[in-house]
């Protein structure tokens, strides 16, 4: 396919996170956290003091790194950098918007889900689902 990004096959890739402290703690407990030689982490804890600039930088860094397959981002954080998330269109790493504890999940804001819903309404495949 012309213009289509190549999908690399690799045996081990990381899951990156941009989320609030509790969510990150939970996933770190599950064992996705990684610290490389330069003491760079594959996660960013977003609290009230984190600037939008820092989130943007982290997002750009995670999406450009080669050893990251999935970037999980809390939905309220994704809303802060919505323009970046919406303009991102590469297949790998995949961007996943996850719900966080303090903020209710709103499917309307999810960039992928909104496209899914749009296609659903256009094709009326699952008209009875929602």
């Amino acid at each position: 396919m012309a213009g289509k990004a190549q999908i690399p096959t690799r045996n081990s890739a990381l899951i990156a996170m941009i989320a609030d402290e509790d969510t990150v703690t939970g996933f770190l407990l599950a064992g996705v956290g990684n610290v490389d030689l330069r003491r760079k982490t594959n996660y960013l804890i977003v609290d009230s003091k984190t600037t939008v600039k820092a989130i943007e930088d982290a997002f750009k860094e995670f999406t450009s790194k080669e050893d990251i397959a999935i970037v999980m981002i809390s939905q309220y954080v994704a809303n802060m950098i919505r323009f970046l998330v919406d303009s991102y269109n590469k297949p790998i790493p995949a961007i996943l918007e996850i719900p966080s504890k303090d903020h209710p999940y709103d499917p309307a804001h999810d960039s992928v889900l909104s496209r899914v819903k749009y296609l659903f309404s256009a094709e009326s495949v699952a008209s009875g689902r929602r």
Partner: protein
Amino acid sequence: MSGQSQRLNVVPTVTVLGVMKARLVGATRGHALLKKKSDALTVQFRQILKKIVSTKESMGEVMKTSSFALTEAKYVAGENIKHIVLENVQNASLKVRSKQENIAGVKLPKFEYFTESETKNDLTGLARGGQQIQQCRAAYVKAIEVLVELASLQTSFLTLDAAIKTTNRRVNALENVVKPRLENTITYIKAELDELEREDFFRLKKIQGFKKREIEKQAAAARKFAEEQFEEKEAPKKGVSINSTHNFLSAGKKDEDIIF
């Protein structure tokens, strides 16, 4: 239609007509194949759409459960558990493996997670709340499982979307541009060849008529010549020279009047 008057710029010959016909056959076959591919991709796409919606719903459930498990662990083991966890991060023990799946020539990524080594947080919560912490970890691993599945679905969705768009564009291009153009070229060449044939036929007719007239003329000349020959041969037999026959009546002396 805009493509009606379009045709390729070719020399109208029988050879080119053959080439064009072969190309039209190729284009038709390619169109049929691409159409089939597009249909197959669309079927896959619909399935993925359905799966994405249901997985997104279950993701909400799983995240809720895991958050609750974390709250439980915090309650039992104390608030400072998160500092211990954050400090203990070294190497990822839970990683993602990505491989490709081939659907109608489109490569779709497929993620699956695997645990590489033992987690470093084994001693976390040794003092109190160890069981809750293990439960919390299990809940989050489960969440990862769902999220990884969702990620591969989502990536497949985006890749398939792009692939379907390109395939449909090709199908439409073949159907609406390439095929009409080839058909127009073929009709053009056929018309041109017919014209040539008619011209040729007319010319042959013309030549035939010309030859016929020429033969008739020659025949007439020959006949005339033969008659002359014949006359020349006959004249001496009658005893009158051919020259004297011309002024047979007028050339001689004036005859005396005859009175009856």
